[in-house]
């Protein structure tokens, strides 16, 4: 005879089930709220009612100061440049309120973030894959190697502000690179390095041993084997891990605060006197810009536009970068699957 579940047991079962279900729904709810809030409020800044439906000015212009004033009973909202042009035609004195960064656009921030992501991922992938190859293919399991692994795990737990200060101390001050792209690249690169090393090592280990032996048995050297018959198959996995790295690199504010980010800069990154100066210039960046416009300037009804607009563009940029790496990974996977 098989006993039927008791009433109490069934009730308990229900409770547990709903607990799990609600936990999942809660995540969904939060995500939806955040995306909708940013999407709707930011959408007002980024999209327009008339053609071309996208606020090109916001996407292609540098930030400017907004001037708000009453003129003949009409409320005027003019950007810095427009205000100066207006003043040349209208000679009278107006009492204008200025709101920093709330006019114009965020083009330099988009460019700066893109440059930071590209540079720091290059640094992180190069060092990370090299280290992963060493750990998975060359090193033997000694006490020293175990110590290295623990160090990597610990590095992953270091708060990003500490990376920022470390980068400031080492790259900005000691190396004398100042607040620059190069300092930012290395600081951000070091921050995501543990994740990249760990994931790359796992991807390398997932490549069947038989492929290594098959290659070595044909008279390939170890490096030939790794380059032609191990690394290509591990790349999709490595790229997957780098997607998460990209989101982190693009999103962190603390590490670039002292090392790479400017609150405001008039020149674009390519406007440098000599090409080597390119690496030694600070840039504006989306996360830092959000930080500046939402905490460093007085808040009023005019600042929301740029805050939400920047956040919205920021989300889209990160999604686009992630999408690119996903597509790249799928292409790799299709070509080399076993």
């Amino acid at each position: 005879m098989i006993a039927a579940p008791t009433k109490r047991g069934r009730f308990f079962e229900r409770i547990v089930f709903w607990m799990f279900r609600l936990g999942t729904y809660f995540v969904l709810l939060c995500a939806t709220y955040i995306f909708l809030d940013i999407g709707i409020k930011g959408g007002r800044t980024v999209f327009t009612k008339a053609a071309p439906f996208v606020n090109l000015k916001f996407l292609t212009e540098p930030p400017q100061t907004l001037y708000v004033f009453d003129y003949q009973g009409k409320k005027m909202e003019l950007s810095d440049r427009e205000f100066r042009a207006w003043k040349t035609t209208h000679k009278e004195d107006v009492d204008a309120t200025s709101v920093a960064y709330s006019a114009g656009g965020i083009w330099p921030c988009i460019v700066g973030t893109a440059l930071l992501v590209i540079g720091s991922m290059t640094v992180a992938l190069f060092i990370g894959i090299s280290a992963a190859i060493y750990l998975s293919e060359y090193s033997r399991d000694t006490r020293f190697i175990r110590f290295i692994r623990i160090a990597i795990l610990n590095l992953a737990g270091v708060p990003s502000i500490v990376f920022g200060l470390f980068g400031f101390g080492l790259f900005v001050i000691f190396f004398g690179w100042n607040v620059s792209l190069l300092s930012g690249w290395f600081t951000l690169g070091l921050m995501v390095l543990p994740a990249i090393i760990t994931a790359s090592e796992e991807s390398l280990r997932a490549v069947p041993q038989g492929l290594r032996e098959g290659s070595l048995a044909l008279g390939a050297t170890k490096w030939q084997t790794i380059r032609k018959n191990v690394l290509p198959y591990a790349l999709p996995g490595i790229l997957t891990s780098s997607i998460l790295g990209i989101a982190r690199v693009a999103g962190e504010t603390a590490p670039i605060m002292f090392t790479a980010a400017y609150a405001m800069r008039d020149e674009m990154p390519w406007q440098v006197s000599h090409w080597t100066n390119f690496f030694f210039q600070g840039v504006m960046a989306l996360p830092y810009h959000i930080y500046v416009v939402s905490s460093k300037i007085p808040q009023n009804e005019y600042t929301e536009r740029v805050q939400y607009g920047t956040a919205f563009v920021f989300l889209v940029v990160v999604m686009l970068i992630a999408l690119t790496s996903i597509l790249l990974r799928e292409k790799q996977r299709r070509r080399l699957s076993w």
Partner: protein, 280 residues
Amino acid sequence: MVSLIEMPQTLPQQLPRQNDRPADETDEATIMIDVRDVDFAYGSNQVLYNVSLDIPAQAVTAFIGPSGCGKTTLLRCINRMNDLIENARITRGTIHLGGIDINAAQVDVVDLRRRVGMVFQKSNPFPKSIYENISYGLRIAGVKKKSRIDEAVEKSLRGAALWDEVKDRLDTNALGLSGGQQQRLCIARAIAVGPDIILMDEPCSALDPIATAKIEELIQELKTQYTIVIVTHNMQQAGRVSDFTGFFYLGRLIEFGATTKIFTNPAEKRTEDYITGRFG
């Protein structure tokens, strides 16, 4: 660095075919691989004890014995595949190949492996096209000329009796082949680099009887050109394909001799017991 290729001792093309002669003339056969007093250990775990045998050129030598008796370990010693395993090493004795001690410091292991091909138990085609699989060994050896590679690909695939089945789809992924075809591809890949010796580690263990028969037939053809050492669990297979057989038990070589003799009139009782299926 001593190159095996330059060694006058290894001249397989000019060696007589062993299988033309009565099989028990072992002592007169040209010896390709000379294994002398070999002890082998994984760390502190010794798996081979005092193994000595002479593997004749251009013949098929089979290693038989129950699981864990060390036959695969010995096979992997011949192309130094055991170098890949941490703490695994030959603790005593030598292996000479055409008169050269393969474990000598001046022997280039890459060169050795080019001369001693290997076919693994689990077929391991690279997840690339059939063409790229075969050309892999040549490419890494620095062959760049397309016509030479094309020629070698066709020759090796013909040599492995696979050409007719795959000639129209050389660009397709090798993983799309059947198990038997994959194993023949691995054989073709091994012979593409022009080795003198082919080591086979239970090449048919994952194959059905028809695919197995094809491989066995292929081995018979290959031995006219190559020295073949095959590890097998299947005694019938050893009886069918090999000219010489070594019986291993618990890390020791119990008996080595012409296959006909081992199978019909073994000197050792344990060999007879194993072959007749009384244990193992």
